[in-house]
Subunit: 396 residues, 2 copies
C-alpha cells in the first residue's frame, strides 16, 4: 500500500507513494478539503487541472446532509460528486466535538444533536465505519475524540485511552466486514464497485491523540500502532494551541510510528507549518485555509499572504504571484481580482481559491523534488525565513 | 457592419450577422450580462466554451466601481476582465433610474447619488459616451431615460423627446471624437488598440422609448431612425408591464426601424418571450434571468423551469435536462446539484449558471437554424406551447 522511497538525511522528511483503490498519491501530499461533497467554489475538473491527487470528504457533514442513504443511492461519494480520484474521509469525530450540540460521550459512542436541525443522533465507532463505507472512502479514519485545548492531563489520558479502544472496534468492524465486501467485489456490476470500493480495498488509518502531553502522545502512538493500521494520523493538533505545542505533539508521537506506513497530520496548517511538519516526518496534510482565506480575499504567496481587498492592489496589473502558473495568475491581474472581491463577485473567490490550492499543491510538489535532490532542509529554512504572515491566517 | 441574411416568410424573424471590432455576432443573439465586469459566477474561459458571442457590461456599475480611470488604466474592459470577444455596454441610464438615489433630471443630464456610497454624480449624454469609450465598448448605447411603468402619456412623451435629443448629442459626440480616435488607431502599440477599440470602430445604437403608447413608440422610432445609428434598441420594456403591453410596444416601433440594421430588445426576457420577440423582428437580447435564477436554484428546461431545491430531486440521477450538452448536464446529476444548492455550496450555482446560459445561447442557436430552414414559426409555436413556467421567472 505504501512505499517509502527516500528518507532525508538532514531532517525526518520522507518521500513516499501510497496506493489506493482510486489511484496513487505521492507524498508529501496536500489533501484539499471538500467538506460537503465539494471543494468550496472549485469543480472536480478544476481539481484535476490543479493536479490534486486526493480530496477529503467530511463524514459528519455528509451524514447530516444529504445523508448516508442518498449518497449510497448515487453509488458513493465518487459518483455523487463526479470525482474519480482517491477520497479520504474523516470519521466525523472532529465535527461532532466542534459543531454538534448537546453531546454525551460514553464508551459506546457519542449522542449529539446535529448543528443543522438538532436531530438527535448516535455515532459509534462501528457506525462511523459504516458511513465511511457507504461514502466509498479510499482512506477511512477511525472514530476518535478530539479533546479541546487547553485540556487537563487526566481528561486527555482517559480520552486517548477511549480513542484507542474505539480504534480497535473500527479495525474489528473492518475485519468482520471484509468478507461481506469480497462478495461485493464479485458482483457483475463493475461500475458501482469502482465508486464504492469494497471495504477490503479501502485503507484504515488510526489516530494518535494525547493533547499536548508528551507521555500521552507516546502512549497513544504505541497503543494505536500495536493495533496495526494502514497509516497513522496525528489528531488533536491545530485546535488553538501555540505553534510550539503543536510541533511538540508531533515530535512526541513520531518516533513510535513505523517508518513503512504513511503519517497524516490532521487539519493543518500554514505553508511554513506544512514544511516544518514534513521535516518532522509527516506525509499528508489537509487544511481549509486555501479555500477559506480565498473567500476572505486573502491569497498565498511565497513571501506571505496578500489581502487583495487592500487599496494598494486597485491598479496592480501583476498576477497574484509572479511566475505562478495557476489558472488565476495566467489570465488575471491583482487589480481585477481585487475589484471582483470588493464587488462580491463569485469569480473573485473562485480565482483566489484556485490560486491558493495551486500554491499548497505546488508547495508539496516542490517539497518532494527537494527531498529527492537532498536539498529539502535548506529549502525549508529559506522558505520559512522569507514567508511573512502579513494578514490573518486563521479565519473563524 | 450588419448583413441581413434572411427574412422569415411566416413571421418577422431575421437571420443576420453583425461585425464588431472584436468579432462577428450571428443574430438572433443572446448577450450574457456581466454587470460588474463578470458574468456572475462564470469565467471568460467558460463563456467561450458556452459559445457566447458577446457579453454586456453595465456602464453605471463599472463607473461607480472600480471607476472609469481604473478600467482605462488596465486598457479597457476587455483587458481588465480578460474577455477578447465583443462587449456591448449600456449607457447607464437604466441603472440611474432604477438604482441611484436623489435623481434630478434636466435636459443637460442627470444628477444623482450612487447607490454604493451616495457620492453625488452627474452624467450627461456626452459623459455616458466618454465612459463607454474608456471601457472600450464594441457596441455603445445612447443615454436614455427609461420611464417607469405605469407612466402618464404626457410624461412619456416629454421623456421620449428628451431621449431623442440626448441621442443626437451622443451621435454628435461620437462624430466629434472620431478624428481623435483615428489618431489612436495609428499608434504603434497594437495591443492597447485591440482592447479599447477606437471610437470610430465602435458601433452606436439608438434607443426607442415611448412607454406603452403606440403613438409615442412610433414617434420615438421615427425620431431616432432619422438621426441614423448603427442599430436600434427598444428600451423601457420589461419594466413591470403586462406581457401584452411589452409585445405591443415592440410591435408599435418595429415597422419604423430600417431592415438593414440590427434591432435589440433590451433587458428581457423568458425563453418564450425571446422567441416571440424574434418573431416580431428583434435580433438581440440581454437578460439577467439565466444567472439570477441560477443563484436561486432555478434551472431552465424546454418544458419550463425546475426549482432544484425541491425535495423531489434529492435522489434524481438524471441531468438537469436530458440530452443537454452543457458542462453541468454532462457531468452532474440533479440530486448532486440540489445538494449543493441546499448546502449553499458555490459550485451549485456555478453549475446552474452554466446550464442556464447554455440554454439561452442554445435557444438562439436553434432559432437561427430554424429561420434558415424556414421552420422558425412552427418551432416558436411548439416551444411556447410546451414551455410551462412552474416557478418564479422573475426574482428581485
Amino acid at each position: 500500500m505504501f512505499e517509502l522511497l527516500l528518507s532525508d538525511i538532514e531532517s525526518k522528511a520522507r518521500l513516499g507513494r501510497l496506493t489506493t483503490a482510486h489511484g496513487l498519491i505521492e507524498t508529501p501530499a496536500f489533501v484539499p478539503v471538500g467538506t460537503q461533497g465539494s471543494v468550496k467554489a472549485v469543480s472536480p475538473r478544476e481539481l484535476h487541472e490543479l493536479n490534486a491527487q486526493i480530496i477529503l470528504g467530511n463524514t459528519y457533514h455528509l451524514f447530516v446532509r444529504p445523508g448516508r442513504d442518498v449518497i449510497r443511492h448515487f453509488g458513493g461519494l465518487h459518483q455523487f460528486m463526479n470525482w474519480d480520484g482517491p477520497i479520504l474521509t474523516d470519521s466525523g469525530g472532529y465535527q461532532i466535538f466542534s459543531l454538534a450540540k448537546l453531546r454525551k460521550i460514553t464508551d459506546d459512542g457519542v449522542h449529539f444533536q446535529n448543528h443543522l436541525d438538532g436531530t438527535p443522533t448516535f455515532i459509534s465507532p462501528e457506525i462511523a465505519m459504516e458511513i465511511q463505507a457507504a461514502l466509498g472512502s479510499d482512506i477511512a479514519m477511525v472514530l476518535d475524540e478530539c479533546p479541546p485545548w487547553p485540556c487537563e492531563h487526566d481528561y486527555a489520558a482517559q480520552s486517548a485511552e477511549m480513542t484507542t479502544r474505539w480504534a480497535k472496534r473500527c479495525k474489528d468492524w473492518k475485519e468482520r466486514n471484509a468478507e461481506r465486501s469480497t462478495f461485493n467485489v464479485q458482483r457483475p456490476t463493475g461500475e458501482s464497485i469502482n465508486c464504492q470500493p469494497s471495504t477490503i480495498d479501502s485503507l484504515l488509518f488510526g489516530i494518535v491523540q494525547g493533547a499536548t502531553f508528551d507521555d500521552l502522545r507516546k502512549q497513544s502512538a504505541q497503543g494505536i500502532v500495536e493495533l496495526g493500521f494502514d497509516g497513522y494520523a496525528i489528531g488533536g493538533v491545530s485546535v488553538g494551541e501555540p505553534e510550539e505545542e503543536m510541533m511538540r505533539a508531533v515530535e512526541s508521537a513520531e518516533p513510535f510510528l513505523p517508518a513503512d506506513k504513511p503519517r497524516y497530520a490532521m487539519g493543518l496548517g500554514t505553508p511554513p507549518q506544512l514544511l516544518e511538519m514534513i521535516a518532522r516526518g509527516m506525509d499528508m496534510f489537509d487544511c481549509v485555509l486555501p479555500t477559506r482565506l480565498a473567500r476572505n480575499g486573502t491569497a498565498f504567496s511565497a513571501t506571505g499572504t496578500l489581502n487583495l481587498k487592500n487599496a494598494e492592489f486597485a491598479r496592480d496589473k501583476r498576477p497574484v504571484e509572479e511566475k505562478c502558473v495557476c489558472p488565476a495568475c495566467r489570465e488575471f491581474s491583482r487589480g481585477y481580482i481585487r475589484h471582483l472581491i470588493k464587488a462580491e463577485e463569485i469569480l473573485g473567490l473562485r480565482l483566489i481559491s484556485l490560486h491558493n490550492l495551486h500554491f499548497y499543491l505546488n508547495l508539496m510538489n516542490r517539497a518532494r523534488a527537494e527531498i529527492k535532490q537532498g536539498t529539502f532542509d535548506q529549502f525549508r529554512k529559506t522558505f520559512v525565513a522569507e514567508y511573512k504572515t502579513r494578514d490573518a491566517t486563521t479565519v473563524e
